[in-house]
């Protein structure tokens, strides 16, 4: 009951950040940004450097950060706390616990283990211990199933793998999607248009794991062009990256196509033509930005989709990324591992959305002036 109240309180706080006045946003945002910089650099460099970095970050943020970024930060920290809290609740509600295995564990042994790993029977108590670890001790905690390793030690080698795969997939989806969509939009109802939209439909309707499994059968088992699974070379990256990219590429293609068709009917395109500009110039200078705007605003959700897709695709192709740990952690009820990976995913999605916001405000001056 009290947990439910806490959850509601968290949600209310989160909603309240939207109405935060500009000056408060600036101060609060800078402080919270300093806190994040401090916690993260503590992992890497220790307490002294972290304090220095935090102070520096606070000053920098206060003076130079655009309001857009600070508003995100003010939202970000309560959202992160809420994420940890609700994930904890969910894990505790799920049947089983980290110490339940085939052989029955005696209550005394279980109690000892719970004390050793800091996993009490009560979810709120665990949340308290976890937050203390994160903020005061600067660790993501010990893994329960992988003996003697902390969660950060597990994630550290997996993180670059997932980032490489995710970024490649994202770049592929943008390049493929934009090319198809722009081409189709410019030659509406041509053969090229129909072909690319059929491809897009194909991409939207097949989820990544079906695409991945299909590709595996065709390109590895039948044709033998690519390794079935594993990691280590560029050739290993091809199929998982495409499997992750295609569904998003399909959506981007549709957005770019309709964006292009819409922009080309705008009055300012007629003006550009009336100036005597060549058609290629009209498209590149006048139509392109308007076409990119809906695509860029989709990149936030696209990044999230690629990350969640990567849980499955990493397992399917035996890619040693964070998705593996997330899935293993969830199956083993290894609470700290699940929370650790969730925090990292969350951070990446937020970071990406921030980049998207910045790109968006660069693309559309109306957005820029509206939040000054």
């Amino acid at each position: 009951m009290i947990e439910l109240l806490a959850l509601l309180f968290g949600l209310a706080t989160l909603a309240a950040t939207a109405w935060c006045p500009p000056r408060l946003t600036r101060v609060l945002g800078s402080l919270l940004f300093a806190l994040m910089v401090g916690v993260v650099s503590r992992f890497a460099f220790g307490v002294h450097v972290a304090l220095l970095a935090a102070a520096l970050a606070a000053v920098l943020a206060l003076r130079f950060f655009p309001p857009l970024v600070l508003r995100r930060v003010v939202f970000l920290v309560p959202a992160l706390v809420l994420l940890i809290f609700s994930t904890t609740l969910l894990m505790y509600r799920a049947p089983g616990n980290p110490f339940a295995n085939e052989r029955a564990t005696s209550p005394q042994v279980e109690a000892a283990l719970r004390a050793q790993y800091g996993v009490p029977k009560n979810a709120s108590a665990f949340f308290g211990i976890y937050m203390r670890r994160l903020l005061v001790e600067g660790t993501l905690g010990p893994s329960i199933k992988v003996q003697g390793r902390t969660v950060e030690e597990l994630i550290a080698p997996a993180f670059p793998v997932s980032v490489a795969l995710g970024l490649l997939a994202l770049i592929l989806s943008v390049v493929i999607g934009l090319t198809l969509g722009i081409f189709a939009g410019l030659k509406k109802n041509s053969l090229a248009d129909h072909v690319s939209m059929a491809l897009a439909l194909f991409g939207v309707s097949l989820p990544s794991f079906v695409l991945g499994a299909g590709a595996m059968i065709v390109f590895s088992l039948w044709l033998g062009w690519l390794p079935v699974a594993g990691w280590g070379s560029l050739r290993h990256l091809v199929m998982p990256a495409f499997a992750l990219a295609l569904p998003n590429a399909a959506i981007i293609a549709r957005l770019a196509r309709s964006g292009m068709i819409e922009v080309m009917q705008q009055d300012f395109v007629r003006t550009a033509r009336a100036k005597g500009l060549p058609e290629s110039w009209v498209i590149a200078r006048h139509a392109m930005r308007g076409t990119l705007i809906p695509v860029v605003s989709f990149l936030g959700p696209a990044a999230a989709a690629i990350m969640t897709g990567s849980f499955v695709v990493e397992v399917l192709f035996a890619v040693p990324g964070m998705g593996q740990w997330f899935v293993k952690g969830a199956i083993n009820r290894d609470y700290s591992v699940v929370l650790g990976t969730a925090i990292v995913y969350f951070g990446m999605i937020i970071l990406f959305n921030l980049l998207v916001d910045l790109a968006y405000s660069w693309l559309d001056p109306r957005v820029r002036s509206s939040d000054a």
Binding site: T271, A274, G276, R285, P365
Partner: protein
């Protein structure tokens, strides 16, 4: 200025222009045989209600129609525009013929600064360097009456009012000192007070640059102080043509008279005397004869079945109405 007589070698000469749009519902004859001359430095008004084919005529001159011209010739100076290649036509657009559109709100690109949008015409047609183009763009903005032009040049369209945007459009259209400026309802979307300012600006620019202006409007009131000649268009055809005095003092076509009667009269208190009843017929549903039949008070026996040609009324003044056909007109011509 002589006014009434078109000059010997007109700057723009449109002959027998026909435009048909192919649509799902069949062919739409938007322009049905338009003849129009514009002399060097002459101001001509093309007047008619919405849907009469004025914009289509203008876009035909620019060769920017979505459809195709089905027949006719458009000569600009000594060149037939329709025989030009696309790159040759591009050297005319924006350089020799400038155009201002009805909707200043949407006619400027929202994501480029207004300075950039003017500069690109100059770098394109006059091969100016970017700094020279910038300086010239600021000059142009000053010329069209935009205060603090340097600052405005680096602003985006949404930071300007509608009237300011139309001034920017005008600056852009005259930037290469065109021989002809086509202004397609330049004040329709603006407040009444701003409308007069924009028309004044167009008038003074016309004097200064000596360019010819084709002013397209549905409002005869705008025309009186501005144009030398007036062509009245109805359902894809010119129905009356003449010097501005002829049109205002001796209007011959019932449609022109109806337009005049619909003007607010400053001497009377009633703002609008009589709006013309009915609507412009859709191009797909035109009668065989005069298209104004359905709304005309003077219909008699030839009107529904026979297309009236332009009958001369006075030198430089003609009207496409059987009331002025010496062979057909009934004795009791209800003129004036």
């Amino acid at each position: 200025m002589s006014g009434a007589e078109p000059q010997a070698t007109p700057l723009l000469s449109i002959r027998g222009l026909r435009v048909d749009f192919a649509t799902d519902a069949g062919s739409v004859p938007a322009v049905r045989g338009v003849d129009l001359d514009i002399g060097i430095s002459e101001t001509v008004a093309l007047v008619g209600e919405s849907g009469c084919g004025k914009s289509v005529t203008a876009m035909s001159v620019m060769r920017l129609l979505t459809g195709r011209i089905s027949a006719g010739s458009i000569r600009f100076g000594n060149t037939e525009l329709q025989s030009l290649s696309e790159p040759e036509m591009r050297r005319i657009r924006g350089a020799q013929i400038g155009m201002v559109f009805q909707e200043p709100m949407t006619s400027l690109n929202p994501v480029l600064t207004i300075g950039k949008q003017i500069e690109e015409v100059l770098t394109l047609h006059q091969r100016l360097t970017s700094s020279a183009a910038r300086a010239h763009a600021v000059e142009l903005l000053k010329r069209v009456g935009i205060p603090s032009a340097e600052r405005r040049a680096s602003q985006y369209p949404h930071e300007l009012s509608g009237g300011m945007k139309q001034r920017v459009m005008i600056a852009m259209a005259i930037s290469c000192r065109p021989k002809l400026l086509i202004a397609d309802e330049p004040t329709t979307a603006l407040d009444v007070t701003i409308q007069a300012q924009i028309m004044d600006l167009l008038g003074s620019l016309q004097q200064e640059l000596g360019m010819a202006v084709l002013l397209i409007t549905h409002d005869l009131g705008v025309v009186a102080h501005f144009a030398e000649r007036v062509a009245v268009m109805y359902a894809g055809k010119i129905v009356e043509q003449g010097a501005v005095r002829d049109i205002f003092k001796r209007a011959a076509h019932p449609y022109t008279r109806a337009l005049l009667a619909a003007l607010p009269d400053p001497l009377r208190t009633a703002a609008r005397l009589e709006a013309i009843p009915g609507r412009v017929p859709l191009p797909r549903m035109l009668p065989a004869g005069c298209a104004f039949c359905a709304r005309c008070k003077h219909v008699f026996e030839p009107c529904p079945g026979v297309l009236p040609e332009l009958f001369p009324i006075a030198p430089g003044h003609s009207a496409a109405c059987f009331l002025h056909d010496p062979r057909r007109a009934p004795s009791n011509v209800p003129c004036q």
